[in-house]
C-alpha cells in the first residue's frame, strides 16, 4: 500500500518576542492511501501544527523551516512537494484534495453567513466547471422543451446563458464570466451556478446525516446545535471528496453521545469515500476506535509509530507507556506522568522526554534518538532500543 503523503524531516519554528519556539523538529511521517492515521500527544506536542503544516497554514509568526511534504496525486499520477508549490496551486489543493475539520465547530463557522453559503462556497471554488456543465444542461432542457410566447421571448437570454455556462464548463479561466462575477449587480446573472452549488450542498448535508438538510442550509451557525455544526463542518470538508481529510480533535468539544455518532460518521466516510484521514486527538480511547495506525508525538517530536493493536499491546517508548497508563481503566489506579510538558522555548537537550523518563540513560541527556524500525511497521525513537 503506497503512501499518499510523505513528510520528511519537517521543522516548524515560531519566532516570538520571547524567543524561538521549536514547534516541530525534523518529523518523518507517512500517510498511506485510504488509511486513518492517528496522531496522539499532549496539548502543545505539535499535533495540530503538523496538520497545519500539511496545508501550509502555519499562523504568523510561525514558519516552516525545512523539510518536505510530498503529496502523491494518483489521478494526476504525479508527486507534488507541497512546501515548494506555488500559492495558487496550493490553494487549488486546499479544500479540494486535502481538507480539514477543526476542533471548535462554533468557531470554525462564520457567524454572518448561512451554513449553505459557506458550503457552496467550496463548490463554487473548486467545482466551477462541473457546476457550469450542470447549469448548461438545465438551460438546454429549457431551450428544448420550453415553448409558447413567454419561452420564445426568453430564448435569446437562455442562449446567451448557455454560451456563458458553456464557457465556464469549458475553459479553466473564461473571461466573460470572470468579469461578470466581479461586478456586483451582474454577479446575479450567474445565479444558476449558485443554484447548482446549493443542490450539491443539500446532498452533502444529507450525506453527513443532517435531518431536513434543505432547511438547515439556510440557517445561520448560531441557530444550530454543536453536533449539527460539526456535521456541517465535516460536510464542508468532504464537499470535494478530498484525498486526505485532516480532523483536528473533531470530537473533543462535543459531548459523549455526539462523539460516538461522529466517530461512526468518520468510519463510514472512510469506507465509502476511500479518503485517507489524519485523525488528531489527545484521547487514546478515541484513537483506538477509529485509527488504523497511531503516531505518538511529544514536544514536537515523534516518539513512536505503530498499528493500533501493536501500539496498545506492546508499547515501546516510555512516553507511550506512560500515556497508556494515564488512561483511566476500571480495576487499576490512575498513573500520572511526573513533571510537566517540556518548555517549548528552551527544550531539554537530547531526548526531550528524559527529564520525565523513568528509565532514562545518561546518553539520553546528550543526543536525541533517531526513529528506527524495531519490528514491521513499528518505529520508535528511543535509546533503549
Amino acid at each position: 500500500m503506497e503512501d499518499l503523503v510523505t513528510i520528511r524531516d519537517l521543522a516548524v519554528r515560531f519566532y516570538t518576542y520571547e524567543g524561538v519556539v521549536h514547534a516541530i523538529d525534523d518529523l518523518d511521517l507517512d500517510i498511506r492511501q485510504g488509511e486513518t492515521l492517528g496522531i496522539v500527544g499532549e496539548t502543545g506536542s505539535g499535533k495540530s501544527m503538523t496538520a497545519l503544516a500539511i496545508l501550509r497554514l502555519i499562523p504568523y509568526p510561525g514558519k516552516i523551516e525545512s523539510g518536505s511534504i510530498v503529496f502523491s496525486d494518483r489521478d494526476a499520477g504525479d508527486e507534488l512537494d507541497l512546501l515548494t508549490l506555488s500559492e495558487d496551486k496550493m490553494r487549488a489543493i486546499r479544500g479540494n484534495q486535502i481538507s480539514m475539520v477543526f476542533q471548535e465547530p462554533g468557531a470554525a463557522l462564520n457567524p454572518v453567513f448561512t451554513i449553505g453559503d459557506q458550503i457552496s462556497e467550496v463548490f463554487l471554488l473548486h467545482r466551477r466547471q462541473e457546476l457550469g456543465y450542470q447549469a448548461k444542461q438545465r438551460v438546454d432542457s429549457l431551450l428544448s422543451d420550453g415553448n409558447g410566447l413567454a419561452a420564445g421571448l426568453k430564448r435569446p437570454f437562455w442562449r446567451w446563458q448557455r454560451r456563458l455556462y458553456n464557457k465556464i464548463a469549458g475553459e479553466s479561466h473564461p473571461v466573460e464570466p470572470r468579469l461578470l462575477s466581479r461586478i456586483p449587480l451582474f454577479r446575479r446573472l450567474l445565479w444558476r451556478l449558485r443554484d447548482e452549488a446549493s443542490l450539491l450542498t443539500v446532498d452533502m448535508l444529507k450525506d453527513v446525516e443532517i435531518p431536513d438538510p434543505a432547511r438547515v442550509a439556510v440557517h445561520y451557525p448560531h441557530e444550530l446545535s454543536g453536533g449539527m455544526k460539526q456535521r456541517a463542518v465535516i460536510a464542508m470538508a468532504l464537499a470535494c471528496s478530498p484525498k486526505l481529510l485532516i480532523a483536528d480533535e473533531p470530537t473533543t468539544s462535543l459531548d459523549v453521545t455526539i462523539q460516538a455518532q461522529m466517530l461512526e460518521l468518520f468510519r463510514r466516510i472512510k469506507v465509502d469515500k476511500g479518503a485517507s484521514v489524519l485523525f488528531i486527538t489527545h484521547n487514546l480511547g478515541v484513537a483506538s476506535e477509529v485509527c488504523d495506525r497511531v503516531a505518538v508525538m511529544y514536544a514536537g517530536r515523534l516518539c513512536e509509530v505503530a498499528s493500533v493493536e501493536e501500539l496498545f499491546l506492546h508499547p515501546l517508548h516510555p512516553y507511550t507507556k506512560a500515556l497508556l497508563e494515564a488512561v483511566p481503566m476500571p480495576g487499576r489506579e490512575l498513573q500520572t506522568i511526573p513533571g510537566a510538558l517540556a518548555d517549548a522555548l528552551n527544550p531539554p537537550p537530547g531526548c526531550r522526554f528524559h527529564p520525565r523518563c523513568p528509565s532514562a540513560l545518561p546518553m539520553c541527556e546528550q543526543e536525541r534518538a533517531k526513529l528506527k524500525e524495531v519490528s514491521k511497521d513499528h518505529m520508535v525513537a528511543c535509546h533503549l532500543f
Binding site: 496545508l55 497554514l57 499562523p59 504568523y60 490553494r91 487549488a92 489543493i93 486546499r94 479544500g95 479540494n96 481538507s99 480539514m100 477543526f102 471548535e104 462554533g106 468557531a107 470554525a108 463557522l109 462564520n110 457567524p111 454572518v112 453567513f113 462556497e121 467550496v122 471554488l125 473548486h126 445561520y220 448560531h222 463542518v233 464542508m236
Partner: protein, 348 residues
Amino acid sequence: MELRAYIIRRLLLLIPVLLGVTLFIFGITMFFSPIQRATLYVTNLRQLANLPAIIEQYGLDQPLVVQYGTWLGQVLRGNLGWSNVANMPVSEAIWHFLPATLELAIFATPLIILIGIFLGSTAAAHKDSPVDHGTRVVAIVGWSLPTFWLGLILLMVFYGYFRGFLPPSRLSIQMDMVVNSAEFIRYTHINTIDAILNLNGPVFLDALRHIILPVITLSIVNVAFIMRLMRSSMLESLGKGYILTARAKGLAEKVVVNKHARRNALIPVITVSGYLFAALANGVVITETIFNYKGIGWWAWQSAFRLDIASVLGFALFNAVLFVLVNLVVDILYTRVDPRVRLGGSVQ
C-alpha cells in the same frame, strides 16, 4: 412588530433625558446674576440704566424652578423662545442653520467611515509591518491636530496661495444670486442637492468647491476614530477560527480578508458610528467658524459663548433627539448586519 415596540420604548426613554439635559443647562444659568444674563440684550451702554426693566421683562430674577416651569410650559406649547444670536425664534433658527451642517455631514460622514474602514483593514491585514505603523501614525497624527490650526492652514494654502481656489463660506456671490433667484427652487437648502434637483451644474460645482476644505478638515481629524476601531476588530476577526477554515477551503487571501473577516469586523464599527455623529457635532463648531460655513455648530457656539440660554436649550433638545434617533437607526442597522443580534439584545 417587535420593531415598533422597540422604537417606542427607546423614544420613551428619550423623555427623561431631555428633561435632564434642559434642567442641567438651566442649572448652569443659575451661576449668573440676573444682570449678567440681561446684558445679553444690551447693544448700547445707555441701556445699562434699563437693565432692571429687561430683567423684569424676561423674568430673569425668578427662582430656577419658576423659570424652568415657564420655559417648559412654552416648549410644550411648541414655543422654544427667542434666539438672540440668530435673531429669530429658536425653532426657526434650528431649521435655518441645519441644512449647512447637514451638508457637511452628508459629505464628511461617508468619507470618514470609508477611509477609516479602508485604512483600518489595511493596517490590520499587515499587522506590525511598516504599512501598519505608517497608516496608524498618519491617522493618529491627523487625530492629534488641533482642528482650528489645521483648518486655518488649509485655508491659507488653498485660498491664500492658490488665490481663491477653494474659498470659504457656502457659495460664491454670483451663485448665491442664482440660488436666491426666483427660478431656483430651494427644496432642501442643501445647496448641492438643490442644485441637482434644479439640474443646475454651475451651482453644484460651486457648492462643491466651497465644501471641500471643511469636509477634508473634519475627515482628517476624525478618521483615526474609525480607523483604529476597524483595525482592532479586524485583527480580532482575523484571529478567529472561521478565517482558518476559509483558508483551508482554499479561498484566496483577498477573499478571506474582504469577505469573511471584514464583514464580521464591520459590526462594532457600525455600533460606534453613532458616536462618530457626536464627534462631528463637536468638530463642526470650529470648522464652521473658520470656513465661515454658517451652520448649527456655529450657532450653538455663539449661543453658548454669549449665554443665549434659549438657543442653547433649543440646541440641546434638538441635539439630544437627533442623537437618540441616530443611535436607534444604528441599532436597527446592527440587526441587519449581524444575524446573531436581536433588537434590544446584544451580541454575546
